[in-house]
Structures are given as C-alpha cells and as structure tokens.
C-alpha cells in the first residue's frame, strides 16, 4: 500500500457546548511522520479520533488519499490505530490479536463465528495468507516467541509491540498513535522512540502521532503541530519550532529546560530595555510598550562584564549542567543557564557571577504573544 495523504479542512468539534476543536486545517503529506503535541485537553486526541472515525466532527471534512471519508465508518477508512492502553483483545492470543484486522477484512461473517466458522469451505488459501502475514508482522517486531501467549502474560513493552504488529499487519493507509509510549518506563520509552522512528523509515507510511511529551515529538517527527485550546499554534519541523517559535505559547512549550522569559520594555525608537538597562537590541518600529524577551538556557553565558547574578543551584545532567541563577537587585524571574559540564562556572566575588546572552539568538514577543523581529546591535548582550 502506498502511503496516503490526510487532509483535514475546517474541522470543528464541541462537547456539551464547549469548543474542543476550532476550525482546524491540516494537510498531512504521504509518508510523513507528523506529531500532534500539546498539553492535555488541547484537543489533540480528539483530532486523532476524528481522523480514525471514532468521533465525527461537527464541522469540516476529512479526506484520506484524496477520498472524503468524513461520513465513513471507522472500519472503512483502512486506518490503523495504536492506543495508549494498547487495547489488545484480552481473551485472544497474540497471534489471534494480530490476525484480527485481516480476519475481519478478508473472511466473511460466517467464517468468523466461533467453532462453526472453521467449517466454511474454500477459505484455506486466505487463512494461510493471514497466518503468514501474522508471522511477518511478528518477525518485524521481534515478537515471534510470544505468539501463543495471552496479553495478560506480556510486559508493557511486549504489549506495545503486539499493538504495533496488529497495526502493521494490514498495511494501512496511515498509522494513528495515541500516546503509545506513555505507559512505559523511561528507559523503554527511549528505546521504543528509536524503534518507532526506524519502523517509520522502513515502512515509509504516514504516521500521525499524538503526545504530550515534546521530546517524543521533536525526536521522531518530520513535522510537529503544536496545539493549544483546540487550535494549532504552529506547524513546522522540529527545528523551526525550536528556533523560530511563532508565539510565546510555543516558546514556552518547546524546549527543556524551558526558555527563560524576561519582561522588557520597547521605547519609541525600538530600543529594548530590561534588567534596568538598554539591552542593545532593537525591535521593529511602532511596537513600543511592554514585551517579553526569550532566551534559551544554552544562549545564556557567563561573561566578564554582565548583569550581576547569584548562583542558586546547579544540576548535573551528565554532559550538561543546568545552573539556576538569580539576577541581583532586580525583580526578574530566576533564570536557567545550560552549559557543557566541562566548562567551569566563572566564580565572581562572594559567589556572584556576571551574566550575558547570545544576542543573535534571542527571541522577542510582543504584548499579544506574537513573535517580533529582533535585531542585535552587539553579539553578546549583558
């Protein structure tokens, strides 16, 4: 099956009068790995369920491979979904679980009935095809030894693989995944991330992946759609979201540790002042007023001649070190600085340091939260 595009146009949905999705337009390209990421309640799961046909939108349309499926039954969309709880059929063996999507599609109802279904003639070849497809899917996910177990006898990671194999076995138009890794422990989650990315490369299929974990979204996806309150805030590659966040909300969500946000003031000439001084940055004309300056932790620097600050705490994260600092004599929020572990912090007199930042990589957001163009007069500002 060649990978299919998914096109959502003007999707709206409300539950009990509250809008969950507002006018969502999203074109997912064939073979793309797209993540829907956002905090819980942002509407990402509802959007996924609308693609699957498990929910019907109040407004708008869904097309798979150019075919309008807005009104189609979930089973007629040829979509595979991996659920957060894996949703394996508890009474079936792994083999039967994986075979189910094929049995449902290729065998008539009579042949699916328990016991007497076996007696329906003329389906031997089909049954053999199904059996070999199951073996292949199990092989691809390395779960052949588990084929005759029941889901209850499997670990979380193994269930995850069975759910993937069940999705894989019928070569669907697209794979939908609803937080599939959130029930796994941290180590296994990292491992499965790699496997999923690898699976996507091998299959070349369209993946739509819902997660609240930005690391999952950023590490695996071709593109990420960041959602909040039923709207898509930004759609772009992981690098775009990280390096050019379209709004303050995106900037806040993407990146760990989170971006440092400083309240600043733009004067009539576009000069930006914060921390009680001119920061050497310029905003576009006519944007005077309060604004927010965003600084990634890795763009903060200890400099010889900067804002005096005190180190509150240092966290060691292997290769990196996160330093929490407090600007002296200012009511600014505490800042987090990230540096390589082999760099020594610059000790100042009585434990204070001088802090600067990489001006070319600072972000500026207007009072309404929208990104503003920023021009730096100097490379490192203080």
């Amino acid at each position: 099956m060649t990978p299919q595009s998914l096109d959502l146009v003007g999707i709206g949905k409300s539950f009990d009068g509250a809008d969950v999705l507002e006018n969502i337009d999203l074109a997912i390209r064939p073979g793309e790995f797209l993540s829907l990421v956002g905090a819980s309640g942002c509407g990402k799961s509802t959007l996924l369920r609308i693609i699957a046909g498990l929910e019907t939108p109040d407004r708008g349309s869904v097309a798979i491979g150019g075919r309008d499926v807005t009104e189609a039954d979930p089973s007629d969309r040829n979509i595979a979904m991996v659920f957060q709880s894996y949703a394996l059929y508890p009474h079936m063996s792994v083999r039967q679980n994986i075979a189910t999507p094929l049995r449902m599609r290729r065998l008539p109802l009579a042949a699916r009935l328990p016991v007497i279904g076996r007696l329906v003639p003329g389906l031997g070849a089909t049954r053999r095809e199904i059996a070999s497809a199951v073996e292949d899917a199990a092989e691809a996910l390395q779960i052949r030894p588990l084929l005759d177990r029941k889901p209850a006898q499997l670990s979380g990671g193994q269930r995850q693989r069975v759910a993937l194999a069940r999705a894989l076995v019928r070569a669907p138009a697209a794979f939908l995944m609803d937080e599939p890794l959130s029930n796994l422990d941290a180590k296994l989650r990292a491992h499965m991330r790699e496997e999923l990315a690898g699976l996507h490369r091998r299959l070349g299929a369209t993946f739509v992946y819902v997660t609240h974990d930005q690391i999952e979204a950023m590490t695996m996806s071709d593109r990420v759609a960041l959602m909040e309150a039923g709207r898509i805030l930004q759609l772009g590659t992981p690098a775009e979201l990280y390096e050019r966040p379209a709004s303050l909300s995106v900037a806040r969500f993407i990146g760990t540790p989170a971006m440092n946000l400083l309240p600043v003031e733009i004067d009539g000439a576009g000069r930006i002042s914060g921390l009680g001084r001119d920061l050497g940055l310029e905003a576009p004309q006519g944007k005077r007023g309060p604004a927010t300056l965003g600084l990634r932790p890795e763009d903060l620097r200890f400099v010889a001649n900067g804002s005096p600050a005190r180190i509150l705490r240092t966290e060691h994260h292997g290769a990196d070190r996160y330093v929490t600092l407090e600007i002296l004599d200012r009511s600014a929020p505490t800042l987090t600085l990230r540096q390589r572990a082999d760099e020594e912090p610059i000790p100042g007199a009585d434990g204070t340091v001088a802090l600067g930042f990489h001006a070319g990589r600072a972000h500026l957001f207007g009072a309404d939260g929208a990104r503003l163009v920023l021009r730096a007069r100097r490379q490192v500002a203080a």
């Binding site: 498990l54 089973s75 979509i79 957060q84 709880s85 059929y89 999507p101 699916r112």
Partner: protein
C-alpha cells in the same frame, strides 16, 4: 488427671467452643435434610420409628423412590423445570446483554430514561405484577402453557443492571480498536464485552436458575395441569394428594425435587454463593 485437664482447659476452650456451637447449629440446619433422606429409605412399617439412627431395619429406598415416581410424574416435573428454567435464562440473557451493552457503551436517545426505568423496576416484585399478567394471559388463552410460566421473567431488569455494571469496566479503547478492525457491533457486544464478563454471566445464571427452579408462586397461578407443573408445584400437588401416611414416598419425592439444586450447590459452591447472594433479592 483432673488437674491436668483443668490446666489444659483454658487453652482448649477457645478452640473447642466455636466448633461446638457451630456443630450444634449445623445439626439443626441439616436435620431436615437428614430426616428427609432417612425417611426416604425406611419402609412404611418403620413410620413410628422416631430415632435418628441412620440404618433402617430394612432398606426400602428403592421401593419408596419407585412409589414416588409412580404416584406422581416426577420425571415430568423435572423436565418441566428444566424447560422453564432454560427458556427463561436463554431469553433473559439474549435480551439483557444487548440492552446492558447499549446502556453501558452506546449513546442513544432515551438512554437515561431506560436506565431509570430499569432501576425502578428492580424495586417491583413479581408478586405485584402477577394479577394483571395473569388476566392478560387468561384473556389470550395462554394459561397452562410453558409460555405463561416463562413470559413474566423474559425480561430480567436485574440482569440488565448487573451486566451494565460489569460491562462499564470494559476498556473503551478495546471497543474502538475493534470498530477500527471492522468488528460488527454484535460481535463486539457478544464476542468481546460479554466474553470479558463471563463470571457475571455464571453468577447470573445460577441466580436465575435457582430462583425459577424453586419458585412456587407464579406456577401456582398459571398452571393447573399436572403435566406442565414444575417441581415445586408438582411437590405441592403430590403432598396434597398424599393425605395418607406414605411418608416414605413423600420424602423420596422431596429428595428428588431438592436434589438438583443441592447437588449443583455442592459441586460449584463458590459460584452458587456468589450467584445467590450477589443480589440480596431471592
């Protein structure tokens, strides 16, 4: 010796006393069963023997059971009981499971109303409905049929209630996965959700069978034909007809009527206790 006993007694007493009390009570509880079986194997000549000695002077069990079977159509009563209980149970499950599934997992207009009615109906005993149901069946010329014996029980609101409670805990995601996989709604209902609630089905089956095997009130109202009588009514007719002193045959009859449920209970004790007590309603 006495001193030793006096020293031991305070230690033994806490262990012996509960058993002694329980044994005394159990003796009373089991006395009727014992007397029934004992009398059913004693010859009529020993009718004045009131001792509880278990071995009769001459064994007349075969004769008593044969007489019971010849004076009353015992086999027929049992068959009637099996037909009525099976018919009721099958229809109850066939109607209650889809309704419970719809109430637990589907959205449809009138869902709240139906649920409210089901719970309200739980409070209404069959004895309150007997009169209009009887009049209706009489008008339809359906008295003295198996249908009349079964019809009022075709709908078990208790089954709907119980299955709904049980189905609600079935994971929604599995149902959604099944819909994506192309299961029909019927297959989801019976093949997945009901399958996940087999303990509830077992418990309900026991409850239903015991309740209807033992029921006297309704058969007494709609059945006057001996050939259609279920075991309790048959027993009543038998004991009313047996005005003489053939207690041997009477007790043999009682033993025959009681045996199926008692044997089932002894075999599947856990299921039985679960089934009968889960309701609080007998």
């Amino acid at each position: 010796m006495v001193a030793a006993l006096r020293r031991l007694l305070p230690h033994l007493l806490p262990h012996l006393l509960p058993h002694a009390a329980l044994a005394l009570g159990a003796g009373v509880m089991l006395l009727p069963f014992y007397w029934m079986v004992l009398t059913s194997i004693r010859p009529p000549a020993e009718i004045f023997n009131v001792s509880l000695w278990p071995i009769p002077e001459s064994f007349a069990g075969l004769a008593n059971y044969a007489r019971a079977a010849s004076q009353a159509p015992m086999a027929r009563f049992m068959l009637n009981g099996v037909i009525v209980c099976a018919g009721i149970l099958v229809v109850q499950v066939l109607t209650a499971v889809p309704a419970a599934y719809a109430l637990a997992k589907l959205k449809f207009p009138g869902r709240r109303l139906l649920l409210t009615l089901v719970i309200a109906a739980l409070c209404v005993p069959i004895q309150a409905l007997a009169l209009p149901l009887f009049v209706g069946l009489a008008k339809a010329q359906l008295l003295n049929t198996y249908f009349a014996q079964m019809a009022p029980f075709f709908l078990s609101v208790f089954a709907i209630f119980l299955f709904r409670q049980s189905f609600r805990s079935y994971p929604d995601e599995v149902i959604e996965a099944a819909r994506l996989d192309g299961f029909t709604e019927m297959e989801i209902c019976w093949g997945l959700v009901m399958r996940g609630s087999l303990p509830a089905l077992a418990a309900f089956s026991v409850f239903s069978i015991v309740a209807h095997w033992n029921d006297l009130y309704w058969p007494m109202i709609v059945v006057s034909d001996t050939a259609l009588a279920p075991p309790p009514l048959g027993m009543l007719l038998f004991s009313d007809a047996e005005s003489g002193a053939d207690y041997g045959a009477l007790m043999a009859g009682a033993a025959i009527v009681t045996a199926p449920m008692v044997l089932c209970f002894l075999i599947a004790r856990r299921h039985f206790i679960a089934g009968i007590t889960m309701t609080g309603v007998k």
